[in-house]
């Protein structure tokens, strides 16, 4: 029983935090909030040297992890990304790296993984058109050509990193069922429309595929195997999204706690008023719960525990919703000052509300969890 990070992971956290505070703090990115692009490719490449894109990739493709639980290592990074509201597509790039590393052919791994690991290839995940994880939500169609290649037509929505991505992992409906393809952003017929989002700290795109020709060699999976790719990607994304929320929540809670100690009204720190104190206690409980849920999901997925699916659905049910609630409470407790554009709390709130809906919203994960626990109950109680 050691449900905590190890020393190497603590070191990874310290290194990452120091780097992000120096090179990509929230304050340093303030001027970019309303600009078309906020991603800094140099930061990404420097981050790649710190392991941002390497953890889920084997050493033979230039990757490497700090522990034998690479996903847990990645949780450390995602928490730090959340804490500082990073713009970089840590989640989609690693989802794509993981998919290629686990499901790709040797040629595909050789072709893409070293670039991703080096930070040269930014990857994004085109899940569905409507942003729901249900594969029924795919609008993309893949038709097979005479040469064995494919033609992709349709749209993928709510794609984090689409505006800067070099490579897309694209889920499409093919004649053989769902299928995944690796599509370079430079392919003819690919275009990206930048979305205007509530979140100001990241950029999302709608990716249009207008008869995009994809060689057969770029097919990653098809049929049942494509469903596996999708489910694995969704599980990894849910864990990492939870970890970003945990990092953000820990930070915003700490800031709000400090504010409640410093802000004097009626001659007393507002944190001395018991109604505020009990709400802070409730938020502290909720942060602990978010952390426990996320870390357990990471561990269960990393080690392939029997209850990994339930653990993922639990994290998806609870964490982003609790985080959004926490941001609202922190805004309320920070009062008028929190209501200003200049205070960071709205950046956290805006991002938290967006996090809730990116990889299956909490009601979606709850339906999953209900399905899982009721099917188990049937088995146990025939």
């Amino acid at each position: 029983m050691d449900f905590d990070f190890n020393d190497d992971q603590d070191l990874l956290r310290a290194t990452t935090r120091a780097y992000l505070e120096k090179r990509s703090s929230i304050a340093s990115r303030r001027p970019l909030l309303e600009s078309p692009e906020v991603f800094d490719r140099r930061v990404w490449e420097e981050g790649a040297e710190l392991g941002w894109t390497a953890l889920l990739v084997a050493t033979e493709y230039e990757g490497g992890s700090v522990s034998d639980q690479p996903l847990v290592d990645l949780v450390v990074l995602a928490e730090e990304f959340g804490r500082t509201l990073q713009p970089g597509p840590l989640i989609p790039t690693n989802v794509v790296a993981d998919a290629i590393a686990r499901f790709g052919s040797v040629e595909q791994r050789r072709a893409h993984l070293p670039g991703i690991v080096a930070g040269k290839t930014v990857a994004a995940w085109c899940m569905t058109a409507d942003g729901s994880p249900d594969l029924g939500g795919i609008s993309l169609r893949a038709t097979t050509g005479p040469d064995g290649g494919f033609t992709l037509t349709g749209t993928a929505g709510y794609v984090h990193g689409a505006t800067v991505a070099d490579l897309f992992l694209v889920t499409a409906a093919s004649e053989a069922g769902p299928a995944q393809f690796l599509v370079p952003a430079t392919s003819a017929g690919v275009s990206v429309r930048r979305l205007v989002t509530l979140d100001l700290t990241r950029r999302f795109g709608e990716v249009h595929f207008d008869a995009v020709a994809v060689p057969a060699a770029n097919e990653l999976a098809t049929g049942d195997s494509a469903v596996d790719v999708h489910n694995r990607a969704l599980a990894v994304a849910t864990v990492l999204q939870g970890a970003e929320a945990v990092g953000a929540a820990e930070h915003l809670f700490a800031v709000t706690l400090q504010y409640s100690k410093d802000r004097i009204q009626f001659g007393r720190p507002i944190g001395s008023f018991q109604a505020i104190k009990h709400r802070m206690a409730d938020l502290a409980i909720s942060v602990e719960a978010m952390r426990a849920a996320t870390h357990y999901a990471a561990l269960a997925l990393a080690d392939g525990l029997d209850d990994a699916d339930e653990a993922i659905a639990t994290a998806g049910s609870y964490v982003t919703e609790a985080h959004a609630f926490l941001c609202g409470e922190c805004l309320q407790l920070t009062g008028g000052i929190g209501f200003t554009w200049e205070h960071d709390v709205h950046l956290f709130l805006r991002r938290a509300r967006t996090d809730e809906v990116l990889y299956g919203d909490p009601p979606w994960h709850r339906e999953e969890l209900c399905r899982l626990i009721t099917s188990t109950r049937t088995k146990e109680q025939p």
């Binding site: 509530l198 009204q265 609202g328 805004l331 009062g335 209501f339 709130l349």
Partner: protein, 393 residues
């Protein structure tokens, strides 16, 4: 028991028709995006267009009694209020001072200030909150020191709606160095006086609805005191109570209808969200809270009419409205699913992001005008007689 209000006689139909036609003809098209209701214009042109519209209404005889010392014909007033409630272009500035002037103003002040508010010639704002006097308004530090027949005012105000376009301010400042409510005086502040420096403040919505106002050696004539020196806390509480019951009195029916529309339009797992039991239960919860809001309003109006208002009435109305409004916005966002991430300016955003803006702005109702935490304290201490929180040193 009865909540009916007398039906407006058919003889007023002509008045209503003329009014509607008048509004339709004169209502300006502003540059500014309406978003979630008109808040505060971005440009002087828009302000001037609004002002001209209000003047035109006034000059045509459409005068709201809340801005005047005398009341108009009650049926005409109701028709006017109903018609203008859907025309945010007619709302200009913060008219809170009108109540204070009516209750506490001298005859000269009433004559000088009330008609121009009514006509739209003067735009007013309210200079109460300070950086260190938010929830604890009585802690305000802005000083007004008597120097002959003027007060010299120094200090900083914040959360001042419309200050950037105001002609006058309803100012609270401290004329005696004693702490707390005693020693606070209410003033009329001419915003064009030297030393008044208005700096617009941008909020989390991205809009600029509020301002900071810096006051440096502003010389305010003693004749601009409202009520008596040192009596400002009483003047304020009366007008704040009016504002809070106003906030609490708004309806919510229209908004529930909008939630139904959103639930019908958006899908969940391949079917319309409105077919899902949890969405239906959630809609009904909000609809019930909205209807109860109206019923609580009837209770408060009845007590007001009998002169039996409780100190808890305004806070109850304000908390109920503020929390319901926030819950509706959150519900609307969740109905949109992934699409809730899109906001104003994105062609795919639902209703051009109006719910996203409302969601962010919703906190104005739970924080401003006395936060819900302060309202709960008022209910507990003044309404229920529970012991007061000790003030720190």
């Amino acid at each position: 028991m009865d909540v009916r209000i007398p039906e407006i006689p058919a003889s007023y139909d002509a008045y209503r028709d003329e009014l509607r036609a008048f509004i339709a003809k004169h209502v300006p098209t502003l540059e500014m995006k309406p978003r979630s209701g008109l808040r505060v214009p971005d440009t002087a042109e828009d302000v001037e267009a609004q002002r001209n519209f209000v003047r035109a209404l006034h000059d045509a005889g459409y005068r709201q009694d809340r801005f005047q010392a005398h009341d108009g014909d009650p049926f005409e007033q109701r028709i006017l209020q109903q018609a203008l409630s859907t025309v945010p272009e007619a709302a200009m500035g913060n008219p809170l001072v009108a109540g204070a002037l009516k209750l506490f103003g001298t005859d000269d002040q009433k004559a000088k200030y009330l008609p121009p508010i009514s006509r739209g010639d003067h735009i007013w704002s309210q200079l109460f909150s300070e950086p260190n006097a938010g929830s604890d308004l009585s802690n305000l530090k802005t000083r007004a020191d008597l120097d002959g027949d003027v007060y010299v005012v120094n200090g900083q105000k914040v959360w001042t709606t419309w200050a950037q376009w105001s002609d006058y301010g309803y100012l609270l400042a401290r004329t005696e160095p004693t702490p707390g409510p005693a020693g606070i005086t209410a003033f009329v502040l001419d915003m064009k006086l030297p030393g008044v420096d208005v700096r617009p403040l941008r909020e989390i919505t991205g809009t600029t609805d509020f301002n900071e106002v810096f006051l440096t050696d502003v010389r305010v004539p003693v004749t601009d005191v409202i009520g008596q020196p040192g009596n400002g806390w009483k003047v304020t509480n009366m007008s704040l109570a009016m504002e809070r019951s106003g906030i609490g009195g708004g309806g919510g029916g229209a908004v529930v209808g909008e939630l139904i529309d959103a639930a019908r339009l958006h899908n969940r797992r391949g079917r319309s969200a409105i077919e899902a039991d949890d969405v239906r239960q959630g809609l009904a919860r909000l609809a019930a809270r909205s209807r109860i809001h109206r019923a609580i309003g009837h209770k408060i109006a009845t007590r007001a009419a009998k002169g039996k208002l409780s100190v808890s009435d305004a806070p109850i109305g304000k908390i109920w409205f503020g929390e319901l409004n926030l819950a509706m916005c959150e519900f609307a966002l969740r109905l949109q699913g992934p699409r809730s991430a899109l906001t104003e300016g994105d062609p795919a955003a639902y209703l051009d992001g109006v719910w996203q803006d409302r969601f962010l702005y919703a906190r104005a109702w739970t924080i401003a005008g006395g936060s819900n935490e302060i309202m709960r304290n008022m209910i507990a201490e003044r309404g229920l007689g529970l012991p007061k929180e000790p003030r720190g040193s």
